[in-house]
Amino acid sequence: MVSYILKRLLSAIPVLLGITIIVFLIMSLIPGDPATAILGSYATPENVEKLNRDLGLDKPMVQRYFIWLGNMLTGDFGRSFSLNRPVIDEVLERFNATLILAGTAFTLCSLLGILAGVVSAARQYGFADKAITFVVLIGISVPSFFLGMMMILLFAVNLRWLPVSGMFAIYGGGDLPDLIRHLTMPALALAAVATGVIARLSRSAMLEVLRQDFIRTARAKGVPERRVIMGHALRAAMVSIIPILGIQAGFVLSGAVYIEIVFQWPGVGRMLVDAILKRDLLLVQGGVVIVAACYVLFNIAVDVAQSLLDPRIKT
């Protein structure tokens, strides 16, 4: 197992290296440059040129790439010029917020999605199945930003149950209940789509498994039905659900962009969108590399979980 993990970690290195190249190329290909972005209306060619020199953007592309990569390997991600602070500070701070949001949403959508899928499968064509299918389809069919804004209108503006936006109250906040209050709506809105996808796929995975002979065996043994469903069937279904969770984690992480904008969550997704629009090269590059590394690591964890669950997988 340890050697398998090591092998997977090693194989992640070329992927991450590739990502650095892709993000660097994309940022170089996007028209418009950071100097124009900073100067705004005052971006005369002369001002732009001077600012580019100040920012070190006048060197050839390949050279800039290697300077960036070299610095990054020594832990120096450079300075964001749109935020005027070290990229790594900003990214880690914001990534932390995204992890709280996306992590909660991911936990929610995994638990709710699998639960809904299991109940739906266990009561196929029954009332619970139809009700769940309907709710889940609403989740899948409504853009998350739309859902988020609707939630704000209802729960924050009209009912005043929950705060509109932000991660902590400006005054008198900062503790866990405060965080939970701020987290509730964005996490639910973010989880909605993924919950739907996971529920539907869990349902079909469960149905597939429930038809298997070993379920009949379990029943023939006299295993209580609850254990048949939650033990035998779910465990076997998890083999096909876990890879879906891995993919959905990516969607949740990406979808956080919309939610972070709507709920003013100080996360990395919103930061990256802003940074792309402001052509903040180093911030985009650093941010993407860290997000991607996290995603790659998560996927390795998923594969490891999968191989722990399924003894038939050779490690």
Partner: protein
Amino acid sequence: MTLLSWTRRSLMAAAGAALVAGGLSGAAYAQTPPGVLIVGQIAEPKSLDPAAVTAVNDFRILVNVYEGLTRYKSGTLEVEPSLATSWDISDDGTEYTFTLRDGVSFHDGTPFDAEAVKFNFDRMLDESHPYHDTGPFPLSFFFGAVESTDVVDAMTVKFTLNAPYAPFLSNLAYPTGLMVSPAAVAANGKEFGRNPVGTGPFKFAEWRSNEAVVVERNDGYWGEAAGTEAVVFRPITDANTRVAEMLAGGIDLMVEVPPTSLGQFGGDEFAVAEQAGPHVWFLILNAKEGPFADKRIRQAANYAINKEAIVNDVLEGTATVAAGPTPPAFAWAYNEALDPYPYDPEKAKALIAEAGMEGADLTFYVTEGGSGMLDPVPMGTAIQADLQAVGLNVKIETYEWNTFLGEVNPGLEGKADMAEMAWMTNDPDTLPYLALRSGAWPDKGGFNSGYYANPKVDELLEAARTATDQAERAELYREMQTIVQEDAPWVFVANWKQNAVTNDRVENFGLEPSFLLHLQGVVKN
């Protein structure tokens, strides 16, 4: 049946969890604390170093923490003393000598004196200055005319300009001219922008990234102490969210209310403030090639577009119709005699027919949003529909702001016939000088992206820049406006009235024509 019971049990558990979560939340959305004003900003500030920032959004914080040598007199765009109590201008207009205010110290306790002023300008302008690397300073060209800054004595400082430059005093009042503490720059280096120290009525307390910038009352302020204990600037980038926060009581004051949301704030618990400012929203027309090379078509466009409908309907009355290139907020330089082009589609059609341009195809650059651009997409769409109605086929291409600038600033030649644009300036000189002179064509480093050229206009603008007498300058600008309106290098669309909403706990709030947000006198109950 077991299955049924466990399903029900888990549903109960889920409902229970929801109740607990609900209970946690309670109805605790208490109002914001008294004495602390919470301001909804449109974005996270880039930096709190006045020399390093360009955005109005950031200026709104800065002017409460820092002060400049001069400032705009409340309610006008005219300059009055601030950290300088008086000044002398040499007869040739190249030497400005300022007497500084006594007894002013920075928030870190160091005194404000002539050395500090020199430090500020040298840091920005002198590439060999030890703290020049705390930049870049994108707007340093505002003081590009400054040849040298000299300390005459502890409380007197002298600027020498390379040529007469009338907007100098006004530029000193602009946020780029705000004075920072030399000691704090030395102590924090590049991080000064996150640890700002000025002389203003508020001093910096903390900056929680993407959550809030907090400033507190400066009890040692030389003037009248601030009316609130603290001000919290919360960046809320999404306009809808900002409106929702305002409605839910999460913020006390918000600026740049989306026009369509203004109706939400009609009740007694809110007050809407409005203030026209030095802003003009226009369409750059490509006068070099294509249909708009013909003055009649440019005028036709001015007649064809229903500007009343745009400012009153699309912008819900948050702007007024622009008559010419100079906004009325520059009262002293504005030509009152000028009337906007009326909405007259028949006349437009006639002009187009006269020029033989019926059914001409036009490419129209529209931006998604940007500083001072108001609601560019709906406005662009309305304009497109109006032009379509008089027989011009307009194809819109939208770009996000930075790409848009990258496309428009180098000139429209070969790409587009028209482009949206808006400017907010602090002096009537800036916009026409940078965007209407033939010497300001893109290839010469200006912003005249539509290649308008009229030797008379060039002459008037040069003369106005070097004249130091305001009445004389005003005369020159008025003449320029008449010519430019007739030549119609742009479609003059709107002058924005900046707006802000406060809730009923906020008193003494007013907006300034300068678009700056002075919160010193504001009280919150």
